[in-house]
């Protein structure tokens, strides 16, 4: 029984936490939030230099090859810092897609650039409202050219290429690599609840597209790919939830009302205790996911859905109730509570609704408990 990260990994976590606390303070996040810049380029470049953008990429392609536990740890810290970087889009969605399904040529062409920060990529799945679903994919590829519309796509403007889910000529949904600088690509900005992570609408009009080959083919394999990302995203959500708890706890100790710290009132104490409980349950489920990802375990679908649901619930509660704990101050633009409310909302929906993942949990249980 060793259900914890190794000392090496803990060292990485501490390093990442210290680095991001300094380099991705809310002041920096607010530059993007306020539209002064589209993402934190300097931070991104530093992350590249630290080897973080290729943390789980084989060394052959310039990666650090430290494995998925390391990737999860970095995601947690990016989440804690609420950083304005395309970490999910580029690192644990697009880069992962290439690592898992790219041809040797594709990997050689793109992975070194992604790892070094010379290129950024994103993942284009959604076509408007709703859950991931084969039936909802209207983007089509015919003769190596892709057409259709994807929205919302996080980080779609700064990305050099996108991994796009589209229907192939033979009727199976597949992943395609699409150069976003090609002609026929239109990128329109979208307003969302989290301007610190810009989202876009991408329109493709007969744009060249290369098919990526996952292990198997079709929708089930795309879902498997999303499940893997959901585990890493659970860590990003967990980091955010923990930041909310830390902030609310600190505030409750320092803010006085009725002659004593508000943290001495049970209404606040018990709220924060519930937040802690939610976060710890989410942490345990996320660890399970990290284990499944590392071992490519048969339980991965259940672990991924559990990690995802637990983290979404924890972040949602922590973000809202941290703001509530801050009272009037929490309602002001200048206090950071809303950054986490925004980010938690974006991440909750990013890979499908909570009900989508809950349904997958029960489906797993049904199979496991089959009479």
């Amino acid at each position: 029984m060793n259900f914890d990260f190794s000392d090496d990994m803990k060292l990485l976590r501490e390093e990442a936490r210290r680095f991001l606390a300094e380099r991705s303070s809310s002041k920096q996040v607010r530059l993007v939030l306020d539209g002064k810049t589209d993402f934190d380029r300097a931070l991104w470049q530093s992350m590249a230099e630290l080897g973080w953008l290729g943390i789980a990429v084989p060394t052959d392609f310039g990666g650090s090859d430290l494995g998925y536990e390391a990737l999860c740890i970095l995601a947690e810290e990016v989440g804690r810092a609420c950083a304005s970087v395309p970490f999910s889009s580029s690192v644990y969605l697009a880069t992962e897609a290439l690592v898992l399904a790219g041809t040797p040529e594709q990997k050689r062409a793109w992975l070194p650039k992604l790892v070094s920060g010379k290129a950024i990529a994103t993942f284009a799945l959604a076509e408007g409202a709703g859950n991931p679903s084969a039936r909802k994919i209207k983007c089509v590829e015919r003769d190596g050219r892709l057409s259709g519309t994807k929205w919302p796509v996080a980080d779609g403007a700064m990305a050099d290429f996108a991994v796009v889910v589209a229907q192939s000529a033979d009727g199976t949904p597949s992943l395609y690599l699409v150069d976003l600088t090609a002609s026929g690509v239109t990128r329109a900005p979208l307003q969302t609840l989290d301007p610190a992570r810009p989202h876009f609408k991408l329109t493709f009009d007969s744009v060249p597209a290369e098919r990526l080959s996952l292990d198997g083919r079709g929708w089930d394999n795309i879902v498997k790919f999303i499940e893997r990302a959901a585990i890493v995203m659970a860590f990003e959500q967990l980091g955010g939830a923990d930041a909310c708890l830390a902030s609310a706890t600190a505030y409750a100790k320092e803010r006085y009302a009725f002659g004593r710290p508000i943290g001495s009132f049970q209404a606040i104490k018990h709220k924060l205790a519930d937040m802690y409980v939610g976060n710890e349950l989410a942490r345990s489920n996320a660890y399970w996911g990290a284990w499944a990802l590392t071992k490519n375990a048969a339980e991965l679908p259940l672990a991924a859905a559990s990690a995802r649901v637990s983290a979404t619930q924890a972040y949602d509660f922590a973000a809202k109730e941290s703001l509530q704990t801050h009272g009037g101050m929490g309602m002001t633009w200048e206090t950071d509570c809303h950054l986490f409310v925004r980010r938690s909302t974006i991440l909750s929906g990013a890979l499908g609704t909570t009900s989508f993942w809950k349904d997958r949990i029960v489906t797993s249980l049904e199979m496991r408990n089959a009479p």
């Binding site: 409202a129 002659g259 101050m329 929906g349």
Partner: protein, 411 residues
């Protein structure tokens, strides 16, 4: 038991309806998601003032106030009927709720006859707007912990300090303010209440940007602002008692949830595809809809019970806290649920792309404020527990101590 008006109430309602039909336009269903409570610009303000003038001219501006002060001398239930009817029309409200609902009533109780003569009528006609200067950065739920100082100097008082969350301070003409005049007294005992001209020298108003991006509230700074003793309301040291008058009126004025409601969610779920079937057919969605319907219907009907009590001349108690406690949280939950239901596009706030002009998304950023302003969830539960159920108060460490000996925190 019935939901119908009495014959007299029915006559009054018809009168109101005739006035509204003549002078205002009804709301259209498509204005959903575009409803507004706040004054955004000079045009809004002008429209609000014009509408208030019409109401005053027709005798609907302050239905329960005595006739000699410009009111109608009507009943509380008539005021409720007027509000119900006006809610169906697209008129600019909100600029006067605090002034007429809280400030002027306090003036009416504690002001001198010549002051009433001077101030009540212009306020009623919408020509002068009033604001309430109560909360401070370190005195929110614990209002009596306020620190803004007033020091006597001849016939004047000199005010220094800072107020916060002052709605509309940037367009208000007058304000009521509670200040600390004796820091050596126990915290509730050292307060004194005034009204002042917001154009006084030394008053500086700064808007507060809220998380929604709007700025409906202000910080107000006082640097050696002089208020004539003439404008004191109540005795020196009686400021807390006077404030309670204002706050009791606040509870009576508790507004409705202005965010998306169950019916909006039904419409959303009807049109939305969830896992290849309409979301409205999903058992989990139905369960939530039913929960929220039962809750909101319970709130609505509880208000009917309050109105019945009003119509019988009873004073509604702190039971009214139920409305805000339940509605604010429900508004937040409905918004979050809708955004989640929309999945990957849920967070998109483009009014062209997102259902109902992105109303649910806007509510995500507005709902948190409703759980805090005008009594947080936590304070409301305390009020219900103590004033309705008669449970003992929290242990108070701030009762028998001079104000300036109380411990304070870093925030």
């Amino acid at each position: 038991m019935d939901f119908d008006d009495t014959p007299e109430e029915a006559i009054f309602r018809r009168e109101v309806r005739a006035f509204l039909n003549t002078h205002a336009s009804p709301k259209s269903p498509s204005s959903r998601g575009l409803r507004r409570r706040f004054i955004r610009d000079a045009a809004d303000l002008a429209a609000a003032k014009a509408w208030q003038g019409k109401k005053a001219a027709a005798g609907f501006a302050a239905i329960t106030w005595p006739k000699d002060l410009g009111g109608r001398g009507g009943t509380a239930i008539e005021q409720v009927i007027y509000n119900q009817e006006e809610a169906d029309f697209d008129v600019q409200r909100g600029a006067f709720e605090i002034g007429l609902g809280m400030c002027v009533p306090t003036l009416m109780k504690y002001g001198k006859p010549q002051q009433l003569k001077r101030y009540v009528a212009p306020a009623l006609r919408g020509e002068e707007i009033w604001c309430q200067l109560f909360s401070e950065p370190s005195a929110g739920s614990d209002l009596a912990g306020l620190r803004t100082r007033a020091v006597r100097d001849g016939d004047d008082w000199v005010i220094n300090g800072q107020k916060i969350w002052t709605s509309g301070a940037h367009f208000c003409d007058f304000g009521i303010i509670v200040t600390r005049t004796d820091p050596n007294a126990q915290k509730h005992a050292g307060l004194t209440f005034f009204f002042l001209d917001m154009k006084s020298k030394g008053v500086e108003v700064r808007p507060i940007k809220q998380i929604s991006g709007a700025a409906n509230f202000n910080e107000v700074f006082f640097a050696d602002v002089r208020i004539p003793d003439e404008q004191r309301l109540g005795a020196v040291g009686d400021g807390w008692k006077v404030s309670l008058t204002t706050l009791m009126n606040e509870r009576l004025a508790v507004g409705d949830n202005t965010g998306p409601a169950v019916e909006d969610l039904v419409d959303l779920a009807r049109g939305l595809d969830l896992d290849d079937a309409p979301a409205l057919r999903n058992g989990a969605v139905r369960e939530k809809l039913a929960d929220w319907f039962v809750q909101s219907q319970g709130v609505k009907l509880t208000k009917f019970r309050t109105m019945t009590a009003l119509s019988r001349g009873q004073t509604p108690g702190p039971e009214a806290s139920i409305t805000k406690l339940v509605s604010a949280k429900q508004g937040q939950d409905i918004a979050a649920f809708a955004v989640d239901l929309l999945g990957m596009a849920g967070a998109v706030t483009d009014t062209e792309l997102s259902p109902m002009h992105a109303w649910f998304q806007q509510a995500v950023l507005q709902a948190p404020g409703l759980r805090i302003a005008g009594g947080s969830d936590e304070i409301l539960r305390n009020i219900i527990a103590e004033r309705v159920l008669g449970l003992p108060a929290d242990v108070r460490v701030d009762k028998d101590v001079p104000f300036n000996a109380l411990p304070t925190g870093a925030r």
